[in-house]
Symmetry: C2
Subunit: 427 residues, 2 copies
Amino acid sequence: MSRDRSEDDRSVLGGISRRGLIGSAGVGVVAAGAGVLAGRVTAHAASAQPETVPFRGAHQAGITTAVQDRLHFAAFDVHTDSRAELVDLLRTWTLMAERMTTGGEAVADGAVGAGAYNPPTDTGEALDLSPSRLTLTIGFGPSLFTTADGRDRFGIAARRPAALADLPKFTGDALDPARGGGDIAIQACADDPQVAVHAVRNLARVGFGAVSVRWSQLGFGRTSSTSTSQVTPRNLLGFKDGTRNIKAEDHAAVEKFVWADPADGQAWMGGGSYLVTRRIRMLVEPWDRTSLHEQQRVIGRAKGSGAPLGGADEFDDLDLQSAGPSGPLVDRDAHVRLASREELGGIQILRRGYNFTDGSDGFGHLDAGLFFIAYCRDPRAQFVPMQDALARNDALNEYIKHVGSAVFACPPGLGADDYWGSGLFAE
Amino acid sequence: MSRDRSEDDRSVLGGISRRGLIGSAGVGVVAAGAGVLAGRVTAHAASAQPETVPFRGAHQAGITTAVQDRLHFAAFDVHTDSRAELVDLLRTWTLMAERMTTGGEAVADGAVGAGAYNPPTDTGEALDLSPSRLTLTIGFGPSLFTTADGRDRFGIAARRPAALADLPKFTGDALDPARGGGDIAIQACADDPQVAVHAVRNLARVGFGAVSVRWSQLGFGRTSSTSTSQVTPRNLLGFKDGTRNIKAEDHAAVEKFVWADPADGQAWMGGGSYLVTRRIRMLVEPWDRTSLHEQQRVIGRAKGSGAPLGGADEFDDLDLQSAGPSGPLVDRDAHVRLASREELGGIQILRRGYNFTDGSDGFGHLDAGLFFIAYCRDPRAQFVPMQDALARNDALNEYIKHVGSAVFACPPGLGADDYWGSGLFAE
């Protein structure tokens, strides 16, 4: 069940353009472009990456895949009561998603070939664009299994994993229901935002009547690395965060903390993972008026190098024991301490967060922050205790506000004949 | 006054990273990266572009500059009543903007070198990022010159250009005042969105107390080309639009339609331009349910090639005279006809629009569309009659809604000793 990225993420592409214009002449690996300038690597450039990420495999793509630069995340409400209609949609979505991740249209020749007097079956805005490492990852929310009043909507209530529990209310939560929850989630990650937006839009389009978009979130820049080949980007607080995030190359950690085990209770989720999203508004204006010393105390890292306080290099060990000039070197309430495996009984999560800026809040401030995405084997044992510790004591809480929250069960990867949810809906 | 791009946009960079890590070893031109794959050019890749666009010159950068991939646009309200304070801020902004466009921090060594017990003077999130062709373009709104009740706020009412007139209300306008207007605009364009967001944020930060963000807009992908070296990208209707947009290489058109002439009335605006923004919501769901034939009739172009109806190639002449199978080949209400110079007495504008997706509208639809940006020598003679014709008759109106609007006077470029507005505020 372990995932070897060098094998799973190998270049498959070939020169498939969405309209087949290039043919096999286009086979190749893209240079990391905008980020690499005569040897300078920027935070937004991975090392050369294959242009296409395989859609099928032991695990869904988009979890341990080296984090793409851009995100479009959408949560859907399901309106149909028909299990058959829902399964049909999931089958259709699977075919469309697979096509789009290879750089194809949602439906072959869909933008212009569906007949002049029919609506196009692809919306067309990605016609000229490359695959851009698009991954599409699906998750199922608690409300798909059981409604608030306990109804078994689609005959799958008995298959709801215990790990797919509603998240508790955490201290300080300021959640907007319109920015959270949802029956189904689609995470679209790509190096070109238009490719991600196109994918979500085409899935939404074909689902019209059966599903609708409950909320969606664009992330303009990744804040996490899931591969040792990627540099750690900065969040909108200006800090490198998530340096100690699980990397795909650490197979033991991935096995232990990311992939659900069939023995955890629901066989269909074996090799899957649980996805937690939190829209975290950053109050960047008060943060920006805080001293460097206070910022570094709050985070527990040096702003420039990203090194833990007392260290010199970003990847130096976190020293939680030593004393500093006044109190512990790393503050008792520092973000990095409270989120550390050392203080959490060894817990880790896999993070795939993105920076967002959604205009202004109407009070002269940018509506900006972090769209946090975590993948866990069991949120009850990982995300919940971590967030509980952070929500109670994190010094950072003065500068952030959790305004959206959701949790989803992401099934395992797809074999040749599978569709999204084929395990869950198997008779 | 004519602008030779090959001269103005020459590579100056050198290997300046924001933290000076690389020094002169980094001199070079970036490969167009993510967009170019073994000879395939995507809509989001220009040909190889220098990494730095010069900040000073005869005209402001960011107008005829080859359109960068990403946008962060912000409109500010001015709160101070002090002319001296406003001028001080504009001087400070100018220095910061110039530094940031070369890849520097807002203030030299600002993120970590301002003293531990002071707030950092750069917010830090672009520390590791390249200049990314960042341009920062300033404009002054009508309300900066005269308040709604006619007050001369800063002693510049007599310098308000006649061309900086409030826009009339157009048929169908559904404007949200919270998404329009503003005393000062900053247009940040860059190939990396985090670089654009960082620039706007740092200008907003240093302006705290004197100005605040009234509204802002992220654009995730360009929809226009301002250079013959760029391919025409697609909007979220899936069409190539703006094929006939003014290109920087057409010096005669740029002179005639983009740069204000000092003889137009206000000497300080000579070499400047007038900026019109329109946030155009696209009702993508009904559009997506419309037949290809209807979509092409509405736009007046073929969806696949972008060719005008009756033509074969995107750049073929627009044939407004021929008859089609039923009525004119290009419909009387087709977008491309109504926006054409042929139907508008020769009028042209320079477009720099961006696609946007700002989550959902709360009714199951994506809040997506086009953030339209036009530069004109005189909006009264160009944008207004064009928009009037479109607002009355454009077949596209069934699928779009104008929800935000603003107009600004953008001064000319800066000489060595100038600051943003030095002509306007000269004693």
